[in-house]
Assembly symmetry: C2
């Protein structure tokens, strides 16, 4: 693309560095900002800078937090013996939305992925093991996505936890509520039969 | 969505004000920035602010430009008697990419759209009429998108230009090069038959 303005070219280039934003979309977004009052651009760039420069992570669960300890970890109503291990803050938000979980979280910050150069030391796995050795935790729920990287990460954590008196579990894989059987993939359907649950168990929700 | 951090919520909100960016996408983009070095966020917000605060428009054609007169308007190689009227800067870039046009442009900044509260006075139509009255322009090409708003804008400009010794034209509508006839919509196919061109004319490209 040939730009008539160097400033415009710069802004479009930086915008297109965001994931899933190509040059054309970036140009559309930047031109939109130009049509809006200057305050909107100021608010956008200000809020991004402020977040990036003052962002803090809860020192217990590594969730993004404005305080030293996040609200969930600080709450006395939460079951501190149950910890759900997730990939990032979006998973915390998704699980919180279900209102079905009353324990604490531990945010790993990613999955082990040799292809992308992410090893165990890039993730918050060591603090998790330390926490587990503390003795307060009775059960760890591995709630990573069911991909090869997720399974690898689960297995690595499982191995590191060996010898500790802690139950480990993963979230149930199976047919999604409301899904048609015939459209489910074979692996999911196969697992949902292997890991079938007593009918009485399916009645509570 | 429940955010664990007010700063994060702010940044996601401002990001989601951009067109086509929902809350979920905004969250993904913001979390991506958090994983990158702080310099990337600084460059993004800096380039946006700089563009927004120092943006200038060519005083002749209203294209975005870093100088008083844009490169195209300043070029002595351009045919100043031929002016292509477009909606915004993206259209200038698209037409420039074809290398088929050697005249100047005039950027309206939008189309007349009563639904969105855009009337002729919100667009750069008055300066176009003034330029037309100057006598240098021999032909105006209306290159707006073939929608109801585009046609309305074309007709409005056409009416305002009445009495002036200027030819007006619109870009050709027809079957796109490489398209299959059977998949073309009726209106386009119908017009392409009505506005058929001598076969010799189709040989030059």
């Amino acid at each position: 693309m040939d730009f008539s303005s160097k400033l415009l070219e710069n802004a479009v280039y930086e915008m297109s560095q965001l994931p899933g934003i190509g040059k054309r979309t970036a140009l559309r977004l930047v031109l939109h900002l130009l049509k809006q009052p200057a305050e909107q651009t100021a608010r956008l760039s200000g809020s991004l800078e402020q977040l990036r420069n003052t962002v803090r992570f809860c020192s217990n669960c590594y969730n993004i937090s404005d305080t030293e300890i996040c609200e969930i970890c600080a709450s006395p109503k939460r079951d501190r013996s149950l910890v759900c291990v997730v990939e990032d803050i979006r998973d915390v938000m998704a699980i919180e939305n279900t209102s079905q979980f009353n324990g604490l979280y531990h945010v790993l910050g990613g999955k082990i992925s040799p292809m992308e150069g992410v090893g165990p030391q890039e993730l918050n796995i060591a603090p998790l093991i330390d926490k587990a050795k503390g003795g307060e935790i009775k059960e760890l729920i591995f709630a990573l996505s069911p991909t090869m990287e997720g399974d690898t990460t689960n297995f690595y954590m499982y191995k590191r936890l060996e010898g500790l008196d802690i139950r480990t579990s993963t979230i149930a894989r199976g047919i999604a509520v409301g899904d048609e059987l015939e459209y489910a993939d074979e692996v999911t359907l196969g697992r949902s039969i292997l890991n079938r649950i007593p009918f009485e168990g399916s009645l509570k929700s």
